[in-house]
C-alpha cells in the first residue's frame, strides 16, 4: 500500500516536472514580445497592434448582382448601393467627395474645389476633367457636377483589389471604354473588367490610397515628399510601420475611419486634438504616434522622453524624406512657354525626373531631403485666391500654426515646396490659371497665353482678374510624418544641438550646444587665459630668479 502511494506520488512529480519543462518554450515566446531591453513605447505599440485578424462574412465574388454585365462605373456603384444603402450618403459628407474643408462653412470655399491655392497646378477651377481623375467619383467635368448623385460615387477606386482598375487621367474620373493612349505618359489605359474588379472589393490597402495620394500634383512624389509610390511595397528601412518586413501596415491602420470619414488633418483642423494613448482612451483615433506608443515611449531615464513635450516624434525619427524616390522641391511657372524649334519640349534632369516642361516651367527635384522644422500645433493656415498678398517678398501660401509659447505646439518636420507663380499686379492676389482644355478654350497647355489662361481660370473660380499679371515667389509646406526610419537611423542629438544644425533658424528658446552667450564667453575666456598668463609669468619669474641666485 505504501509502495503504491510512493509510486503514484513519484509519477505525479515527474509528470509535473515534464509539463513544467514543456511550458518553458511558451514562456520564452512571450518574453520575445516583452523584451525588457526594448523601449516600453515600442512594446506597448506591438501589443496594441498584434494578432490583427481580419475576417469577413461575405464573398463578393458570389453575389449575384455582381455577375451582371456592367458598362460603366455608376452601374457598379448602383449594384454596391443595393446592399450598402448608406455608403454613398456617408461618403458624400466627407472631404474625399466635396474637396472642401468640412470644418468651415462651405461659403468660405476652403479646399481644392474652392479658392484654396497651392504652388503646383495651383487650383482645380477650370481644370476639372484633368484633376478629377483623382476624385473618388464619376463625371466631375465642370462646376455643374451634381454632388448629390449617389451613383456618381466611385466605390472601386478605394475598394477594388485587382490593381487593374485605372481612371483615365483626363476622363473626369471615368475609366476608358476602349483602350486609349494618354499622351502625357504614352501609356495605354484599358477598360476595366468590371465584374472581376467589382467582385474583388475589400478594405483599402496602401495601393488603393496610393492611386491618388502617391501621385498628388500630377506625378509620383510631386507633392508630399513622405508619400510616393515607394510606399506601395516599402521595406522596413523606408518605413518601420508599412515595411513588408516590418508591420506591413495599411494606411487605414492609423488613418482610422468612421462612416467613411478617414482620420487625418484637414487644413486648419488638426488630425487629433489631444495626444492620448489608447491606454488613456481606448476609442481614441490611432492617428498620432502617441496613440500606440504613449508620450514617454523611450526607456526610463532616456533624455528623449523629456523632449516629447516640445519635439514631435517625427522630428527625430524621420531623418530625411524622399529616401527612395525624389520629390519635387521647386516649381517655377514663370519659365513656362519656352519652345525649341517652335515646339514645346520637356527636359530630364537629375534623378530621372523632368527638369523642364514648356507647359509647366522649371522644376527642382531632390532625394534624401532633410526636413525644415517649425513649431506646429497640428493646424495649417493658408491664404486663398481672395486674399491680398505682398508681392514684394516671397508669399507663404500656407504655414504651420503654433509657436514656442503655444502649449500644443511642438517642433515638427516639413517639406517646403518653393514656387513662382502668377499673381494679379493690380488686385494683389494669387491667380488661378486655366491649364487644361482643348485649343480655343484659353487653356495654357493648349495656347501658351498666360493672359487668356488666367482670365478663364479666374472666371471659372468666380473671381476677378485685372488683366495685369506677373510672377511671385511662393512657399507651400507639407508636414512630414510617413517614412519613419528604424531606430538606428534616428537623428543624432548633435544634428540639432549645434550652431549650424537642423534647428539653427528656430528662434525664441535656449538650446545647449546651439546657443551661446557672447559676453559670458568673452569674459570667461579672459578669466581663464588671464589666469594662465599670470601663472606663466609668475613661474618664469621664479625660474629666472632662482637661476640668477645659483649662477
Amino acid at each position: 500500500m505504501k509502495r503504491l502511494a510512493f509510486f503514484i506520488s513519484a509519477w505525479a512529480c515527474a509528470a509535473t516536472m515534464l509539463l513544467g519543462l514543456a511550458g518553458i518554450p511558451t514562456a520564452r515566446a512571450q518574453l520575445e514580445v516583452l523584451d525588457e531591453n526594448q523601449a516600453p513605447g515600442r512594446t506597448m505599440a506591438q501589443q496594441a497592434t498584434k494578432e490583427r485578424q481580419i475576417w469577413i462574412t461575405a464573398d463578393h465574388s458570389r453575389h449575384a448582382i455582381l455577375q451582371n454585365e456592367f458598362k460603366s462605373g455608376p452601374e457598379v456603384t448602383k449594384a454596391c448601393l443595393s446592399c450598402h444603402e448608406l455608403a454613398a450618403g456617408q461618403f458624400h459628407k466627407t472631404i474625399h467627395w466635396t474637396w472642401l474643408d468640412p470644418n468651415v462653412p462651405a461659403g468660405e470655399r476652403i479646399g481644392k474645389a474652392g479658392h484654396s491655392i497651392n504652388n503646383f497646378c495651383i487650383n482645380l477651377n477650370g481644370n476639372e476633367p484633368r484633376c478629377t481623375s483623382c476624385h473618388a467619383g464619376y463625371g466631375w467635368r465642370d462646376s455643374s457636377f451634381n454632388f448629390n448623385d449617389e451613383a456618381a460615387v466611385d466605390c472601386l477606386v478605394c475598394h477594388e483589389q485587382t490593381g487593374t482598375y485605372k481612371k483615365f487621367p483626363t476622363g473626369a474620373g471615368h475609366p476608358v471604354q476602349t483602350p486609349t493612349v494618354f499622351k502625357g505618359n504614352n501609356k495605354t489605359y484599358n477598360p476595366p473588367d468590371w465584374n472581376k474588379v467589382a467582385q474583388s472589393v475589400g478594405r483599402p490597402t496602401r495601393t488603393n490610397c496610393g492611386t491618388c495620394h502617391f501621385y498628388g500634383g500630377g506625378g509620383d512624389g510631386v507633392k508630399h515628399g513622405d508619400i510616393d509610390s515607394s510606399l506601395a511595397k516599402p521595406n522596413k528601412a523606408l518605413d518601420v510601420h508599412m515595411g513588408l518586413d516590418g508591420q506591413d501596415f495599411d494606411c487605414v491602420r492609423c488613418h482610422t475611419t468612421t462612416l467613411h470619414n478617414i482620420a487625418g488633418r484637414t487644413y486648419a483642423t488638426p488630425a487629433a486634438t489631444s495626444r492620448k494613448s489608447l491606454i488613456e482612451d481606448d476609442l481614441a483615433s490611432k492617428i498620432m504616434c502617441e496613440s500606440c506608443h504613449s508620450s514617454t515611449p523611450h526607456k526610463p531615464g532616456i533624455k528623449a522622453n523629456d523632449h516629447t513635450d516640445k519635439v514631435a516624434c517625427q522630428s527625430c525619427h524621420i531623418p530625411e524624406f524622399a529616401r527612395v524616390n525624389a520629390t519635387k522641391m521647386a516649381w517655377d511657372w514663370s519659365k513656362a512657354g519656352q519652345k525649341k524649334d517652335g515646339k514645346p519640349y520637356a527636359a530630364k534632369g537629375p534623378h530621372g525626373k523632368p527638369s523642364y516642361d514648356s507647359k509647366k516651367g522649371e522644376f527642382r527635384w531632390e532625394k534624401d531631403v532633410k526636413p525644415a522644422y517649425f513649431w506646429f500645433n497640428g493646424a495649417i493656415n493658408a491664404i486663398t485666391a481672395r486674399d491680398t498678398i505682398d508681392p514684394s517678398q516671397p508669399v507663404a501660401i500656407n504655414w504651420p500654426a503654433g509657436s514656442r509659447d503655444d502649449e500644443n505646439a511642438r517642433i515638427f518636420p516639413f517639406k517646403v515646396h518653393e514656387g513662382k507663380q502668377p499673381y494679379d499686379k493690380i488686385n494683389k492676389t494669387l491667380l488661378i490659371p486655366k491649364l487644361f482644355g482643348p485649343k480655343g478654350s484659353g487653356a495654357y497647355w493648349a495656347e501658351y497665353d498666360w493672359k487668356k489662361a488666367l482670365d478663364k481660370g479666374m472666371q471659372a473660380a468666380g473671381l476677378s482678374f485685372s488683366g495685369e499679371y506677373d510672377f511671385v515667389e511662393t512657399s507651400y509646406v507639407f508636414p512630414i510624418t510617413h517614412m519613419v526610419a528604424p531606430k538606428e537611423n534616428v537623428v543624432a542629438c548633435i544634428e540639432c544641438h549645434s550652431t549650424e544644425g537642423r534647428l539653427a533658424s528656430l528662434a525664441g528658446f535656449y538650446m545647449p550646444g546651439r546657443d551661446d552667450f557672447k559676453t559670458i564667453n568673452v569674459f570667461g575666456w579672459i578669466l581663464v587665459l588671464g589666469t594662465l598668463v599670470a601663472v606663466t609669468f609668475h613661474g618664469l619669474g621664479r625660474v629666472i630668479s632662482s637661476s640668477r641666485k645659483e649662477g
Partner: protein, 228 residues
C-alpha cells in the same frame, strides 16, 4: 632652501586624499563633457557627453554631501575659517618673497593645512563657486520638472548662463590651483603630499594661536598620524 631642517609630516588623511582626487576627476570630466555640451568641440559625441555629464554631475552631488558630512563631523571645516591675519604677508610672499627664495610665511602644518590666502580661496570655491555650479547644474538637469516643482518662473537661459559662468570660474580656478601646487619647496612637493599624505615641511614651526583648531581632542588628533 633656507637651511632649516625639513621634517616629513603626515598632512592629509586617506579620506582627504581620496576625496581630493575623486573631486579632481569628477570636475575634470564635468569640464570636458560640459564644454562639449556647450558646443566647443566634439569628443565623446553629444549624446554620450550629456549622459556622462549628467551621471557624473549627480554623482558629484552625492559625493559632495559625504564630504560636507566629513567636514562637519571631523571639525576640519575650521581649517577653512577665513582670516585676514597674515593674509597680506602671504600675498606679499607670492608677489616678491618667492622670487627671492624667502621661506613661506605660513608653512603647512597638520593643524593648519591652508594658509590665509588658501583659506579664502578654498572657502569661496567650496562655499560659493561649487554650490553655484551644483545648484545651477541640478536645476538645468531638472528642467522638465520645473513646472511640477513650482519653479516655472525660472528661465533656462539664465540657469545655463550661470552654469557656464561657473564652469569658466572652475576652469580658471583649476589653472591657478595647478600652478600653485608647484610652489612648494620642490615642484612636486605639494602633489606628492596629496598622493602619499606626507610632505616635507620646515622643522620647529609652531602653530600660532589663531591657526589652531579649537578642539579638545587635539592631542588625540595629532597621534592619528603614524610616526615617520
Amino acid at each position: 632652501m633656507t637651511g632649516k631642517k625639513m621634517v616629513n609630516t603626515y598632512l592629509y588623511t586617506r579620506y582627504e586624499r581620496f576625496w581630493h582626487w575623486l573631486q579632481t576627476a569628477l570636475i575634470t570630466i564635468l569640464l570636458v563633457t560640459g564644454f562639449e555640451v556647450d558646443g566647443l568641440y566634439t569628443l565623446l559625441g553629444y549624446k554620450m557627453a550629456v549622459e556622462v555629464h549628467n551621471f557624473v554631475g549627480l554623482g558629484w552631488l552625492i559625493a559632495f554631501a559625504f564630504f560636507v558630512f566629513w567636514l562637519l563631523t571631523t571639525g576640519e571645516w575650521k581649517q577653512y575659517v577665513p582670516t585676514t591675519k597674515k593674509m597680506f604677508t602671504v600675498i606679499h610672499y607670492y608677489m616678491l618673497g618667492i622670487f627671492r627664495g624667502d621661506p613661506h610665511p605660513v608653512p603647512k602644518r597638520k593643524e593648519a593645512k591652508h594658509n590665509p590666502l588658501q583659506r579664502i580661496a578654498y572657502l569661496s570655491v567650496a562655499m560659493f563657486l561649487l554650490p553655484v555650479q551644483m545648484i545651477s547644474g541640478f536645476l538645468y538637469w531638472s528642467y522638465n520638472s520645473w513646472a511640477a516643482w513650482g519653479l516655472d518662473w525660472l528661465s533656462l537661459p539664465v540657469v545655463a548662463a550661470i552654469h557656464i559662468l561657473g564652469a569658466f570660474g572652475v576652469l580658471s580656478f583649476l589653472v591657478g590651483h595647478i600652478y600653485m601646487t608647484t610652489t612648494g619647496h620642490t615642484i612636486f612637493a605639494h602633489i606628492r603630499a596629496m598622493i602619499t599624505g606626507w610632505e616635507e615641511i620646515p622643522e620647529g614651526v609652531e602653530l600660532e594661536d589663531w591657526e589652531k583648531r579649537r578642539r579638545k581632542g587635539r592631542q588625540a588628533a595629532d597621534s592619528e598620524a603614524p610616526s615617520a
